[in-house]
């Protein structure tokens, strides 16, 4: 019951936060010299009257706070407006969200299935050769900029011709059988998944390793060893459970990041995901689109944090939240 109340309390706390975020985002957008009509103005065959008509249509003449309330009112009713590309914002969001979700879920699965065992292994065999190797690999993985790695792999794909070059589907996707379609998408996902996994793998693996090391130093572990328990039981039965603890928080963040795209990587790889969508919207000052993306990211973050905190409460009764 108390957990339920806690969740309610957190949601209520989140509402003003989301409002503040939306105001900050809106203000930022408004401060930039927005002109969705810039390309129309730069086209010699467009007349003054056509531009005037467009200005009216987009309502660019009203003062900023009015525009904000207009947007907020609509958003709360579920109408996120029309993007400057002509399509309703919700349609574009959902289309791209699906792609990003797919990518991120694959990345999370791969990352954790590799990071957990390798982190544990590294911790258990601390300071030995394999630990050093992992150390170097993870240092490299954390330092490599994602877009650079993406680019290098793309050039590799070009040179070897083994992998498709960016995008999500091939030109003849419509004609393929369902099974072939799955293979086609999988083929295209190889590079983005590799890049994103490498980058996040490094961080998580180190985290697992250092958490486990911490726990292994604790008093109760020493006691368990002193009691004569075999090392295996010490590690897998006692230590691991406690080491998992901080990782749950990270899992919460991963959830929050599920719908956030790695914008630059997607740009380099032409992957039709949310990151690229938001980036393009920002660069073309597509107001409605940007507000919707940022709000969605914020909501996911808040939910993710909440999720992590609740999970934490379950796994570690010592932690009490005020």
């Amino acid at each position: 019951m108390s957990t339920f109340l806690y969740i309610i309390k957190r949601f209520i706390q989140a509402v003003p936060l989301l409002f503040i975020i939306s105001i900050i985002a809106f203000t930022l957008l408004k401060c930039t010299p927005i002109d969705p009509l810039a390309s129309m103005r730069a086209n010699p065959s467009v007349s003054r009257s056509a531009i005037k008509a467009e200005e009216e249509r987009l309502g660019l003449n009203k003062p900023a706070p009015v525009q904000y309330f207009y947007w907020a009112g609509n958003a709360l009713q579920g109408n996120l407006g029309i993007s400057s590309t002509g399509a309703p914002v919700i349609e574009r969001l959902t289309a791209h969200a699906g792609n990003t979700l797919m990518l991120n879920i694959l990345v999370i699965l791969l990352t954790w299935t590799i990071a957990l065992p390798s982190g544990i292994y590294a911790a258990v065999h601390r300071a030995q050769f394999i630990d050093k190797v992992f150390g170097i690999l993870s240092a490299i993985g954390m330092s490599m900029p994602a877009f650079l790695l993406a680019f290098l792999l793309m050039v590799l794909a070009l040179v070897t011709g083994l992998l498709p070059i960016g995008g999500l589907t091939s030109a003849d996707f419509g004609e393929l059988s369902f099974f072939d379609q799955v293979i086609d998408i999988a083929h295209h996902l190889i590079i983005p998944v590799t890049v994103l996994t490498c980058i996040s793998l490094a961080g998580i693996q180190r985290q697992v390793r250092s958490n486990l090391l911490d726990v292994l130093r604790a008093d109760y572990v020493r006691t368990a060893r002193a009691k004569g328990l075999p090392e295996n039981r010490v590690i897998y039965k006692h230590a691991l459970r406690n080491a998992i603890n901080p990782l749950i928080t990270i899992l919460g963040f991963e959830f929050a990041g599920l719908l956030s795209g790695a914008a630059l990587t997607e740009m380099v790889l032409s992957y039709p995901g949310l990151g690229k969508l938001t980036l393009d919207a920002m660069l073309t000052k597509d107001m409605n689109m940007v507000m919707a993306s940022i709000m969605m990211g914020a909501i996911m973050l808040v939910t993710g944090n909440l999720f992590a905190d609740v999970l934490l409460k379950f796994t570690d009764p010592r932690i009490s939240h005020d």
């Binding site: 009257s49 056509a50 289309a95 030109a171």
Partner: protein, 663 residues
């Protein structure tokens, strides 16, 4: 630890050294070292003449002898009208017989189309798709550049040039089977274009604001357009206005403009689209793919009387970045790279892989766009603040003809084309590219000469003290140069200009600015000094630059006149035009007011000469149009004059493109 590092360091040094060719003896003369490096023959020191020959740029001629396509595909003559057994009048395609079936794979970059409503399209992609799905009354003849009837059978212009009569062919049908008659023509021009439905700017390309033609339906196939005064750009620009299906769009217009715009937008159900072009939309997956299928009711036949088009499907893959398109083409995923897909840096790679990839890279000559340097010659004060838009000291420089000419002489255009455009471009000296039909061939290229530049500056009273230039009043010559950010080519060209002007003693402060902000400055605040800009143009109709060159034009940016009230519907009243601006206005108006080819040519050429003499815009370069088509594409006969918005692009005979046997 130091012990561990040393061997690695040594190895790295060794690699670096060998990379720089140190270890090996110097290369043999006459050998080739790598793909872009070779050794000259050892001989006598090069003479001055040989030096200049070696550094040749693509010939800076102003004729079109660079354009190979002319010779490659000779003019097959006009379309032949055939009547089939049902009495339908059909155009017969001029290419070879092809085979039916297959899917053509194209690619485009960007966000994809913004709408499938052709009349609401304000971006290039949506326009181009509209041209695939809908036909217009007239088309442009790819070889002569003149207007030829497309949906029409004949186009007649009355002797006084005021009345234009269009007669449609018999038996035209929309893709849903309904007949295409002059009712649709009247609906398109009297409602959609006249009342500004959708994007609303077509009206300004086919008429002047005070003279919209009166449209009358004579019978089911004939319509007349009556103007008060002849307006010759009407016919050529008509090609961009496609005929709308009255039976589908009239009910929508009844619901108001707010309902018209989202009609047939990107969420459209493809089955509801009714078109008159060779291909109709069949599926759209946002950010990924657009698919078109054959229109069974298309009204053209091949030499054996079979109904065109040949292909079953066309698929366009949407790619966000331009390099992706090249990679997709090289990887075999698409068959064709159309105009403006191939950049300078891609050209040499593509040329190399022609054999291996079984395709042909063609140069269709100069693009119709131009890139130029412009100074703010405005001498007026902002009515709101009472201050000059441009600092009076700088006004004098920018308005000095010698100053502009000196800057023009100090730009090394051939070097820009070589280094920055990698030879995929042409130096530009006037407002018409050499591909223009009315280009004035008497105008000579502007020589790259710093001496000439210095002489011109001296004549005007500018004084060089050390390496700083001062004007006759003692002010240091310095100005700000802006261009739109994020464009590597523009960056490089601006840096070239900055460095060249430094040699004259002029200090240039270069800053790239975000596009929106730049447009704001040129159109609203007029707060800029020098700018590098690129604009699209037209090979066929110089009047489409009217907005730029006429003194009251909306985009007369080198001396932008702003309307006093934002609501001015009538043309701006201009009171302070320079004599040559007025002469230019007169030339353009005279040319547009006559259907006589001689009058038009004479006046357009004079207008170009005035722009060349006064140089308010200092033209620098234009891109070359390259296309790469797989050799399995049959009937692909591009010409320099027939380049539409992509995806139609250089496929002026889209209906007769077919896929040959083999991969």
């Amino acid at each position: 630890m130091a012990k561990g590092v040393a061997p690695y360091l040594l190895q790295a040094c060794a690699v670096a050294l060998s990379l720089s060719g140190c270890i090996a003896p110097p290369p043999e003369p006459g050998t080739r070292i790598s793909d872009n490096l070779r050794v000259a023959e050892r001989k006598h020191p090069r003479t001055e003449q040989e030096n200049s020959v070696q550094n040749s740029a693509p010939k800076a001629t102003l004729s079109s002898d660079n354009i190979a396509a002319d010779a490659e595909f000779p003019n097959p003559g006009p379309f032949k009208l055939v009547t089939d057994k049902d009495g339908n009048e059909l155009w017969q395609a001029r290419g070879e017989l092809g085979k039916f079936g297959g899917t053509l794979k194209l690619t485009s970059f960007g966000d994809g189309p913004k709408t499938f409503n052709c009349w609401d399209a304000s971006d290039v992609e949506s326009h181009g798709i509209g041209l695939m799905q809908f036909d217009s009354l007239v088309d442009i003849d790819p070889w002569t550049g003149k207007a030829t009837p497309k949906l029409c059978k004949t186009v007649d212009v009355s002797p006084d040039g005021r009345v234009v009569t269009f007669t449609l062919r018999k038996g035209l049908k929309w893709s849903d089977g309904k007949p295409l008659t002059s009712d649709d023509v009247v609906f398109t021009f009297d409602t959609i274009v006249k009342d500004g439905w959708g994007e609303g700017s077509s009206k300004d390309t086919i008429s002047i604001p005070t003279d919209y033609p009166v449209i009358k339906k004579v019978d089911d196939l004939t319509t007349t357009f009556t103007f008060k005064k002849p307006f010759s750009p009407f016919l050529l620009n008509l090609n961009a206005v496609t005929i709308a299906p009255r039976h589908v769009l009239l009910p929508v217009t009844k619901k108001g403009k707010a309902a018209f715009r989202p009609f047939w937008n990107v969420n459209v159900d493809p089955k509801t689209i009714v078109g008159s072009g060779p291909y109709i939309l069949s599926q759209y997956i946002p950010a990924q793919r657009i698919e078109f299928k054959r229109n069974p009711n298309y009204h053209m036949v091949d030499k054996e009387g079979r109904r065109l088009p040949y292909l079953d499907k066309i698929v366009i893959s949407i790619v966000k970045e331009q390099p992706q398109m090249i990679l997709k083409f090289l990887g075999g995923e698409v068959d064709f790279l159309d105009a403006r897909s191939v950049r300078g840096m891609d050209a040499s790679v593509l040329k190399q892989k022609e054999k291996e990839g079984n395709f042909t890279l063609r140069n269709l000559g100069p693009d119709d766009g131009t890139v130029f340097l412009m100074f703010n010659m405005c001498r007026r004060k902002d009515p709101k603040t009472g201050k000059f838009y441009v600092d009076p000291v700088k006004q004098d420089w920018f308005n000095s003809l010698n100053f502009r000419k000196a800057v023009s002489h100090s730009i090394d255009r051939p070097s820009i084309v070589n280094n920055i455009l990698r030879s995929v471009g042409y130096p530009l000296y006037t407002c018409q590219t050499t591909a223009g039909v009315y280009h004035n061939t008497d105008l000579k290229p502007i020589t790259y000469s710093l001496e000439e530049a210095k002489k011109l500056l001296k004549e005007d009273g500018f004084v060089l003290k050390g390496d700083e230039l001062f004007d006759k009043k003692g002010n240091r010559v310095e100005f700000d140069l802006i261009t739109n950010a994020g464009n590597t080519i523009r960056d490089a060209v601006c840096i070239h200009i900055k460095e060249q002007l430094k040699l004259l003693g002029i200090k240039v402060n270069y800053a790239p600015i975000e596009f929106n902000a730049m447009i704001n400055r040129t159109h609203t605040t007029l707060d800029w000094q020098a700018m590098m800009l690129g604009l699209s143009g037209s090979r066929l109709e110089p009047y489409s630059g009217a907005n730029i060159w006429k003194s009251d034009g909306r985009m007369h940016e080198f001396d932008q006149r702003l309307p006093d009230e934002p609501d001015e519907k009538i043309q701006l009243k201009v009171t302070d035009a320079r004599p040559w601006e007025l002469e230019l206005d007169k030339c353009l108006d005279t040319a547009a007011g006559s259907f006589d080819e001689k009058v038009r040519a004479e006046n357009y050429k004079r207008a170009e000469a005035i722009a060349y003499e006064q140089e308010p815009l200092i033209f620098i370069y234009t891109n070359a149009v390259l296309t790469a088509a797989r050799n399995t594409m049959g009937n692909y006969k591009p010409t320099p004059l027939a380049i539409y918005y992509t995806p139609k692009g250089s496929l002026h005979n889209l209906e007769e493109i077919y896929l040959k046997e083999g991969k």
